[in-house]
């Protein structure tokens, strides 16, 4: 029972928080208070989930008692629970940070309910075991992000939002089309069931086409190489709290979906799909980091680095060995923490000067040494300097690459690391090290506000920075956890068995025949796999108890 509650809580809690926030719409204090409490509760529920998943491997919840593959299944495996945990952690940091940075007008227009809605979509996407349900969670998340992005209606925000909305809608359309095709081809949308049916699908070309459709759909959300243009165009426009939560979570939902799709569903034609993924990973890394070098505004630089690091996460997936995939997972954990923190720190720096353009700011090391320390930790971690978290993430990926003998991608990864270090040093030298330029306008009122809101501003950033250090110190246990996660992902049968326990994975069962007109018309003896299961299931759950 507690398992079922734990699986649904990360979706129920943000929804309940949002509903309560709508009831207390007028009171600013209540909005802020309930928003923070809801986020903390989400973090606690995520901790419960990760604890239970660690004990029992995979938790499955068949919603409405409809058994898979008929109803909607929620599945919490190791990867899902790690992602939910990170989402909970980030939303806690960001809502506390938002208390001091998001202006009253935005709170009045529903900043906190929207954050909760966003989180419901994100957690739902991490937990669902149904492809169409995943689409719905994507939409929930996107709608919330559209509004969060434009909340405040500043000129830059609207400009960024047009690109963001257009490209994301196109990717949603591709996603929906892919779902239509996959349903027509296999007759199911449950991921475990799909995994079984795609394994023995007679027409390999159809599977390849489907894989490419999903690659485009999820790739756009994850901001991979040719499809990332919406990200640097929009992420620097909203308030820092919003871009921090976007930077931490949204693209990672795309990466999560890619990992799920290309370990569970499309893991048959590895030569084609995963080599393509490897190429995309390399190009994403390199273009992202080169784009960042050309920028001179803190949050724009950081936005391009998100793209570059998505490449690392894909690299492990593309290499498809246990160590490399574990490296990807470790990288995601490290990246979400560090990237969110860098955006939060960039936000504080921007508040002091009114903007984040590097030539116009400086001297932060002198004026706010605490901020400089926090930035230094996160930036060096991003670049991969030992003993911080990024070093171990990259170490795992590069060892994975060497073991798989893909030397080109290893070289690209090392080169990109170096260029990342260059970018981070640039921000450090310009914003923190050099003396405050004469034309810089130090907003004294803002500086006072920063000093008065020290706890809200520096609390979350210090927490995230200490987690970065903590990941470095605790690298051993976390690596083991990542390897366990990767092993679980690579053994798709565990997932399928957990979702559909009655399905015996014998050779005869796994062989799936596509129903064609002939076999049905000629003798009527064609038996769908699903029919046989209908008979063996207890009858009570198929009919509503009340007529």
């Amino acid at each position: 029972m507690i398992q079922q509650v734990a699986v649904i809580l990360p979706i129920v809690l943000p929804l309940a928080t949002m509903a309560i926030l709508l009831l207390v719409w007028k009171s600013m204090a209540a909005q802020k208070f309930i928003g923070v409490i809801g986020s903390i509760l989400l973090l606690l529920s995520a901790a419960l989930l990760i604890w239970l998943v660690d004990r029992e491997d995979i938790l499955v919840l068949q919603m409405g008692s409809w058994p898979a593959p008929f109803g909607i299944t929620l599945v919490a495996d190791r990867l899902s629970s790690i992602m939910v945990m990170l989402a909970g952690l980030m939303v806690c940091a960001v809502t506390v940070y938002s208390l001091a940075t998001v202006d009253d007008r935005r709170v009045q227009f529903g900043f906190h309910p929207l954050v909760q809605l966003l989180l419901m979509g994100v957690c739902g996407a991490f937990l669902t075991g149904d492809l169409f349900n995943l689409y719905v969670w994507f939409e929930v998340m996107l709608i919330a992000s559209f509004v969060l992005l434009t909340l405040g209606s500043e000129r830059g925000q609207l400009e960024g939002a047009i690109k963001y909305v257009t490209l994301n809608l196109i990717s949603s359309a591709v996603f929906l089309a892919a779902i239509g095709v996959i349903y027509a081809a296999t007759g199911t949308l449950n991921m475990a069931d799909l995994a079984l049916k795609l394994r023995s699908f007679p027409d390999e070309d159809v599977v390849s086409v489907l894989a490419m459709l999903f690659l485009i759909a999820f790739g756009t959300k994850a901001a991979v190489f040719p499809l990332f243009f919406w990200l640097p165009a929009s992420y620097h426009t909203p308030p820092a709290a919003v871009s921090a939560i976007f930077a931490g979570l949204l693209t990672k939902v795309g990466v999560y979906s890619l990992i799920r799709a290309f370990t569970l569903l499309f893991a048959t034609d590895l030569v084609f799909t995963h080599n393509l993924l490897l190429l995309i990973a390399g190009l994403t890394m390199v273009t992202g980091v080169l784009g960042a070098m050309a920028q001179s505004e803190i949050r724009r630089i950081l936005s391009f680095h998100i793209v570059s690091q998505i490449g690392y996460m894909l690299m492990g997936l593309a290499l498809f060995t246990t160590l490399a995939l574990a490296g990807s997972i470790f990288y995601i954990i490290h990246h979400i923490v560090v990237k969110t923190n860098l955006f939060l720190i960039g936000g504080i720096a921007e508040r002091r000067f009114g903007n984040g353009r590097l030539p116009e700011i400086g001297g932060l090391y002198r004026s706010t040494p605490v901020l400089a320390t926090l930035f230094f930790l996160s930036a060096m971690s991003l670049a991969g300097i030992p003993p911080l978290s990024g070093f171990f993430a990259k170490l795992m990926l590069i060892r994975g690459g060497l073991e798989a003998e893909s030397y080109t991608i290893v070289f690209a990864a090392l080169l990109v690391s170096l260029l990342t270090l260059y970018s981070m040093t640039k921000i450090w030298a310009e914003a923190f090290w050099k003396p405050t330029p004469e034309q810089a306008i130090v907003d004294d009122a803002a500086s006072d506000r920063i000093r008065n809101n020290r706890l809200c501003l520096f609390g979350p950033t210090a927490l995230l920075a200490s987690i970065t250090v903590g990941i470095g110190v605790m690298a051993g246990p976390l690596m083991n956890a990542s390897i366990a996660t990767a092993e679980q992902l690579l053994d798709a049968n565990v997932y399928i068995e957990a979702v559909m326990p009655r399905h015996r994975l014998t050779e005869s069962d796994a062989a799936f025949e596509v129903p064609n007109a002939e076999s049905i018309l000629s003798d009527g003896e064609f038996v769908d796999v699903r029919d046989s299961k209908l008979d063996s299931a207890p009858p009570s759950i198929y009919g509503p108890p009340h007529q």
Partner: protein, 170 residues
């Protein structure tokens, strides 16, 4: 006669809404507020009837076409008509509950329909039923699907009214 006049007004509304600019706001306001005496008088009788029909649609939805969504639309349509003929503030008085609170309450109800079965040890959203006897009505089957649908009804009404009322107040 009154109807054709309304049609013309709506056509004007569409034509003018294409050209909304700073100068057109007042014109838009004039068009949105329907000053038809016939409609204004009729809506007093129509409002309860339309609300009743929305409740009918809502309850019918259990086994036949209908349900919370379309019922909510019918209800919000009725109130929107009232808001257009009288005023947004008058409509606020008629519905008593702020539309945003309606959304929140509706979400909580639908969420409740998922959580209630968990109290009985069933998975989230499992349909749970109870039977009560009410003198005069006979046996009554009450279940979580009805609660879910009621939530949908409230959310749909609330969302549509937030749109309509904030458009009218602008």
């Amino acid at each position: 006669m009154g109807m054709s006049q309304q049609t013309i007004r709506w056509n004007n509304f569409h034509r003018e809404s294409l050209a909304i600019g700073a100068g057109h706001t007042r014109k838009l306001e004039r068009v949105l507020k329907m000053n038809s005496v016939i409609l204004k008088t009729a809506i007093r009788f129509l409002l309860p009837l339309l609300m009743l029909s929305s409740v009918f649609l809502f309850l019918r939805g259990h086994n036949e076409p209908g349900g919370g969504f379309v019922g909510g639309l019918a209800a919000s349509g009725a109130i929107a008509l009232y808001a257009m003929t009288h005023s947004a503030s008058a409509a606020r008085k008629v519905i008593r509950i702020p539309p945003r609170a309606m959304i929140g309450a509706g979400l909580l109800m639908s969420l409740g329909s998922g959580v209630v079965p968990m109290a009985f040890g069933h998975p989230f959203l499992t349909g749970t039923w109870t039977t009560t006897h009410i003198s005069g009505l006979g046996e009554l089957h009450l279940g979580t699907p009805l609660l879910f649908d009621l939530g949908v009804y409230c959310v749909v009404t609330g969302v549509t009214l937030v749109f309509v009322i904030s458009l009218l107040e602008e």
